[in-house]
Amino acid sequence: MPLDPDQLAARVAQDIEPGSFVNLGIGQPTKVADHLPAEIGVVLHTENGMLGMGPAAVGDEIDPDLTNAGKVPVTELPGAAYFHHADSFAMMRGGHLDVCVLGAFQVSASGDLANWDTGAPGSIPAVGGAMDLAIGAKRVYVMMTLFARDGSPKLVPTCTYPLTGVGCVSRVYTDHAVFEITPDGVRVLESFGTSVEELRARLEVPLAVDVH
């Protein structure tokens, strides 16, 4: 069976080292936080100026001055720190974050990322901090469904959507499989209820397989 979004978030969380500084993008990647147990000491960064972000705020915890990058009210954990935007993006662009997890429209076989604009007529482009995360984090993980609603693959030989970053993605976590982007091509690390042959039949990207 392909993974559901919560299972996928849990799978991403498994690969985050204890003690890492991590930025989770808006949307699905936010769910990864639910699968990071407190004892592993992962510190979450939010680009609007905070390290040590806690879970979403509920009830009386809601404070309009304390939100995440998606403008959702959140909480602070012991040891949290606040800082302004230039400092926050220095952390991101200066290579200080260990991992960021981003959603994507498309990822190419060479690790190009497209996740900010479909370029469709009438669309209003909005990039936020995506380009800064893409070039700045030590490892860029993408979390997405492997196929778009129309069935077309989102892991592609070359992105057709406008790029967010070039050659920046390390690993792609999807509902059907986990892929590592390497200088030698795309490797399948793990698959979920599907065979590599089936993946090869549906993707136009050459796939290598780790043999253990």
């Binding site: 100026g49 304390l66 939100t67 009210p73 302004h84 909005a126 990039v127 700045g136």
Partner: protein, 231 residues
């Protein structure tokens, strides 16, 4: 100008804004948005403005109200499109406002450069993307960079938590966001705060924006607005 002036009303504080000015507007969504200064700017009526802000307004309040009043010719921001950015979306689709999308880190760093006297800088953000098209690039130590220029404001309108009578500022939680960097990047920085205390009553070790960057301060009533919780 030397030390900050304290004004009795937001209207007096924003009177420095002129037609055609570039106005840096603090806030990330609604957190840190200088609502009272923006409302005063709407009453003031200065037009043909270029606004620099992370978003392009939320709902009908704050920056969205300024856009709706037709006072903004162009906006530079990182993330205009949001679930509640309908005022901007409508103006943009009707061709009534010009948009320059700037990656969020470039928005912050370009203002930081303006405030720090940096003429331009090379940055890896956006290399190989449509937002770097037409810009000068350079390879340094094997990595590609894009040349980015400062963004300087005529006026910055920001919100902080507390000022002292000299204009030293402290902020509150993630409402700090763009305030400190915008304060450095404008000719005149106007700040709304929830409280003003005598000089000496903010621990010098915790001052975030030193008074040298602050020109005008006005105390306003804390605004209680609702934010939507997690969905």
């Amino acid at each position: 100008m030397s030390k900050a002036q304290i004004f009795a009303s937001p209207d007096e504080a924003v009177s420095v804004v002129k037609d055609g000015d570039t106005v840096l507007v603090g806030g990330f969504g609604l957190a840190g948005m200088p609502f009272d200064l923006i409302d005063a700017l709407i009453r003031h009526g200065a037009g043909d403005l270029t606004v620099v802000s992370n978003n392009a307004g939320n709902g009908d309040v704050g920056l969205a109200a300024l856009l709706k009043a037709g006072q903004v010719r162009k906006i530079l921001c990182s993330f205009p499109r949001q679930v509640d950015s309908y005022v901007f979306d409508d103006l943009y689709r009707r061709g009534k406002i010009e948009l320059e999308v700037v990656p969020q880190g470039n928005l912050a760093e370009r203002m930081r450069a303006a405030g720090a006297g940096i003429g331009a800088f090379y940055c890896p953000t956006g290399v190989g993307t449509p937002l770097a098209e037409g810009k000068e690039t350079r390879t340094i130590d094997g990595r590609d960079y894009v040349l980015e220029y400062p963004i300087k404001g005529d006026v910055a309108l920001i919100s902080a938590h507390t000022a002292d009578t000299l204009g030293n500022l402290v902020y509150r939680k993630t409402a700090r966001n763009f305030g400190p960097v915008m304060a450095t990047a404008a000719t005149t920085t106007v700040v709304q705060v929830s409280s003003i205390v005598d000089a000496g009553h903010i621990d010098p070790e915790v001052v975030v924006t030193p008074s040298i960057y602050v020109d005008r301060v006005v105390q306003v009533e804390p605004r209680h607005y609702t934010v939507q919780g997690a969905r």
